[in-house]
């Protein structure tokens, strides 16, 4: 009875392999429609090299074809990727679609393919080979999903900018997913033609590409079995209809269309979304012994950042002009200033997200130039958070932090493929490191929650944990206390002090002036892109220019709050001075300019 379905079962495997080719790019957030064109190219060119007899007497002709076809797929995907990899979304889809059509038209017009008449292939692929190939491909993607490479793909899919700032070379990884997809597409092309024994280039059309995409999406990309489920569903459906006798002409496509619509509208994760998913990592590992050995941070006081008259202008607008700045290991440098003062632009330059227009700078030994890539800087030891929270929303809190550990962890894909014990050990190390950071910011009990479901304050803390997971020498925080109440802000302040005590250099932007006065070793005040004041918190609090800047700004509530705090500081200062005048001779040196109490009472400063 099974013999009747032999060809159907083989086609299920082949279609699933095509769907895996789409899956390979979809998991990295890319939509490519070139797969079928790549398959076609691989299939037809392989016909030129596949020998009739085993090569050297023992290598089967099909093996030659498969290896050759996959190489063609890889090379073609790479060459196609060079120009198109920078395109995004729909544009990438259309460019790759155009590529597929160009391949089809090219092959149609070649004499060696017999053009539209098609050419015949020897029958070399049967049900066993197809399924063995599928199992190998599925195994590969299964082992990929929990590896560092798989996590990097997920990070790129969720948020490219955040992935870059974690040290992930986005362009390279996107190309990697493209090339993997090319290899799988080549495999599919060769297997299909040597199974169906006949092919003409028109079979590898836009419609075929859309079918492959639909299979992958119906199956879902959240789990590696998605493509298989999609293929089974879409291949068996017509067969079921035939058996039920409802396949007259138009009924079959109608039913298929309706089912496809239902799946896409009501099953957001595709069919594989129905399978309860075991998160790759959801339990914390609190055993300190499991943590990896980390390299030492630079000795406290080492200069890590030096900017010299660094500036940025957009058109004629100077967002930042000529800023000099240094940050040393173990100190907290605060950047304050009214809205639009250029703080975020400055910080973006320090993290190489924005190239400077003038001046020079070096961060952890890397010079800031037009060509400095943010991921390079991240790998050197810079980690940051964003003013607009950029978490990987659909990943769990722990998974977010695991991605953050990209810089200090090892790639585990190869080890996972062979189930080496070191894969498990590295995984434990990574989870232990991530767990420690989650607990440090106070999110230990929310490790399994999706990042997007956390409260605003928790999301801010999670971003810090993710940044810390890379064991950074320099931590850049862009408005970490935004949206926190003063109790939370107080705890954040303690956290920042403890990080500095560990030897991390912290550069922090914040509107909460009270907290900044209490937290920072030094503060720089920016207004209209220029440094208007710089010094210890005490000096800043007393500087009339700073208060003026905030009062003069037409800006937000945050600005007026800051002005209010500064005014209160001034008042306290005046009072303190008058008290001091009274008790002349009793004046003491006071604390060293910072304390962990509320800044409003912290007015003393040595003169």
């Amino acid at each position: 009875m099974l013999v009747e379905y032999n060809s159907l079962i083989t086609l299920i495997a082949l279609t699933a392999i095509l769907a895996f080719s789409f899956y390979a790019v979809l998991i990295a957030g890319q939509l490519s429609l070139a797969q079928v064109g790549l398959a076609s190219l691989a299939a037809f060119t392989s016909s030129l090299v596949v020998p009739a007899e085993p090569l050297f007497g023992f290598i089967p002709p099909l093996a030659v074809g498969i290896v050759f076809g996959m190489c063609v797929g890889i090379i073609a995907a790479f060459i196609l990727g060079l120009p198109v990899i920078r395109l995004r979304g729909v544009f990438l889809a259309i460019a790759t679609l155009a590529f597929g059509e160009m391949v089809r038209i090219f092959l149609i017009n070649q004499s060696w393919t017999n053009g539209a008449q098609g050419m015949s292939f020897p029958k070399l692929v049967g049900i066993e080979i197809a399924w063995i190939a599928l199992v190998v491909v599925a195994f590969w993607f299964w082992r990929l999903s929990g590896s560092r490479l798989g996590r990097a793909f997920a990070a790129i899919r969720e948020d490219e900018l955040a992935a870059t700032s974690m040290g992930i070379d986005v362009a390279r990884y996107r190309m990697a997913s493209f090339v993997i997809a090319g290899a799988v597409a080549g495999l599919y092309g060769v297997l299909l033609t040597y199974f169906s024994r006949f092919a003409d280039p028109n079979e590898f059309s836009f419609t075929a590409a859309v079918d492959g995409l639909v299979t992958a999406v119906v199956g879902g990309v959240t789990l590696f079995v998605g493509p298989v489920l999609g293929s089974v569903f879409l291949s068996v459906l017509p067969e079921v209809q035939r058996v039920l006798g409802v396949d007259a002409g138009w009924i079959r496509p109608t039913v298929s269309g309706v089912l496809l619509l239902v799946v896409i509208l009501f099953l957001p994760g595709g069919l594989s979304g129905l399978i309860p998913r075991r998160k790759s990592a959801k339990r914390l590992i609190v055993d300190p012994a499991a943590r990896p050995d980390l390299p030492d941070l630079p000795a406290p006081g080492t200069e890590l950042v030096r900017l010299q008259s660094l500036g940025k202008s957009y058109g004629g607008v100077h967002a930042v002009r000529s800023v000099d700045l240094t940050v040393a290991a173990g100190e907290v440098l605060g950047l304050i200033g009214p809205n639009g003062a250029g703080k975020t632009t400055l910080v973006n330059m320090v993290t190489a997200l924005t190239p400077p227009s003038t001046g020079s700078g070096s961060v952890l030994g890397v010079n800031l130039t037009d060509s400095t890539k943010a991921h390079r800087l991240a790998q050197a030891g810079v980690a940051r958070t964003f003013q607009q929270i950029k978490l990987f929303n659909r990943l769990s809190a722990l998974e977010n932090v695991l991605v953050g550990g990209y810089r200090i962890t090892h790639d585990t894909l190869l080890r996972r493929l062979f189930f080496l014990p070191s894969a498990r050990r590295f995984e434990r190390e990574a989870v232990a490191m991530a767990s420690a950071q989650l607990i440090r910011v106070g999110l230990g009990d929310k490790a399994a929650n999706a990042a997007g479901d956390l409260s605003y304050g928790d999301q801010r803390r999670l971003e810090i944990a993710r940044a810390l997971a890379s064991h950074p020498s320099l931590l850049v925080l862009d408005e970490p206390a935004a949206g926190m109440n003063h109790v939370e802000a107080g705890r954040l302040s303690e956290l920042i002090r403890s990080l500095a005590a560990d030897g991390i250099a912290v550069l922090v932007i914040e509107h909460n002036v009270r907290m900044m006065l209490a937290t920072c070793d030094r503060i720089m005040v920016l207004n209209f892109g220029e440094v208007i004041a710089s010094g210890t918190p005490g000096e800043i609090a007393r500087d009339p220019k700073v208060l003026e800047a905030y009062l003069g700004s037409s800006g937000s509530d945050a600005d007026s709050d800051a002005a209010a705090v500064l005014a209160a500081e001034d008042l306290a200062e005046v009072t303190a001075e008058s008290v001091r005048d009274h008790n002349r001779g009793h004046a003491d040196a006071g604390p060293d300019g910072r304390s962990n109490e509320s800044g409003a009472t912290d007015v003393e400063d040595n003169r």
Binding site: L31, P83, V84, L87, G89, V90, F91, A93, I94, A95, L97, A98, F99, E101, M102, I105, F106, I108, N109, L161, F206, T207, V210, L213, V214, V217, V218, G249, W250, I251, R252, P253, T254, S256, G257, V258, L260, L261, I264, L265, P268, T344, N348, L353, T354, F386, N393, R394
Partner: protein, 291 residues
């Protein structure tokens, strides 16, 4: 000259199809892949109307416009609105519109079969006129006039009317538009209705031009329309018009000088080049990345 005019006639139909395509993309940021099925439906239903009722062309066009508009509203309601707010709405919209298109095509197959259908031969008198030394049929001139005037009306609508202002607000920021009290749902529906109305009429005009319609005609035009809207700039209405005309002329020239088997290479070669050299297209604005 003859070639050039033929190219313009063909191109104006591409443009009419593409302009509906790009309207939805430009305003709602969605690629509606059911547009090709609407094109086919417009052609087949148009033939049906003429065969049954024998209406003249000036009555046929408004009827097809209405038919297309209804289809557009259905597409928006069934394939796109349920996805609103989903993080993968972009993606799911592609697939759900493919599904909707497939359903529409299979229903057309149920009604009209899979065979090629034609307009009744005696409907339009084959008057030929001579322009600048080239012979063109009166029908071709009518096609050009209809498509260009529809495109002008649409461009005016988007640029000047209250509805158009609403559309452009949504294009800028759908969330803010809703906060401002705009009925985002209704404007989205209207956008789809306009888009599909033009797509359906393009189907009729295309069929009048070659006098043959089958279930597959939408696909070829869809691929070319993708090329047109990218070349013109995604979301740009004048871009779609110019892009369509360029493609029409380039194709006719390619057939004449290179050979018909390479004709489709023109569209995709052009598309590929533009995407590499100027991804925002000829008339598109470059979108900047926000940090």
């Amino acid at each position: 000259m003859q070639l050039f005019l033929d190219g313009i006639f063909l191109g104006s139909i591409y443009a009419l199809f593409a302009i509906g395509f790009t309207l939805v993309f430009g305003i709602l940021d969605r690629l509606n892949l059911a547009h090709a099925a609407v094109f086919t439906a417009g052609a087949l239903v148009g033939i049906e109307i003429v065969t049954r009722l024998g209406v003249p062309i000036w009555l046929l066009i408004p009827m097809v416009l209405v038919f297309g508009a209804v289809l557009g509203i259905l597409i928006e309601r069934i394939a796109f609105r349920p996805l609103a707010g989903r993080h993968d709405a972009h993606f799911a919209g592609l697939i759900s519109s493919i599904a909707f298109g497939a359903i529409l095509l299979s229903l057309l197959q149920a009604m009209y079969g899979a065979d090629t259908r034609r307009f009744p031969a005696d409907i339009f008198t084959p008057t030929r006129v001579e322009i600048l030394g080239a012979t063109v049929s009166l029908l071709q001139v009518v096609i050009l006039i209809i498509s260009v005037s529809l495109m002008i009306v649409l461009t005016w609508l988007v640029a000047k009317s209250k509805l158009g202002r609403g559309m452009r607000t949504i294009a800028e920021n759908p969330h803010a538009a809703a906060v401002l009290g705009l009925n985002v749902g209704r404007i989205s529906s209207t956008t789809f209705a306009l888009s599909s109305a033009l797509g359906a009429v393009a189907g009729v005009l295309f069929t009048l031009n070659v006098n043959a319609a089958s279930l597959g005609i939408g696909h070829a035009v869809e691929l070319k329309a993708l090329a047109v809207i990218v070349v013109g700039g995604m979301g740009s209405l004048p871009g779609a018009l110019i892009g369509g005309l360029i493609l029409g002329v380039a194709e006719v020239l390619a057939v004449n000088y290179i050979g018909s088997s390479w004709r489709d290479m023109v569209a995709f070669g052009l598309l590929f080049l533009i995407l590499i050299l100027r991804p925002q297209g000829l008339f598109g604005a470059r979108k900047t990345r926000e940090v």
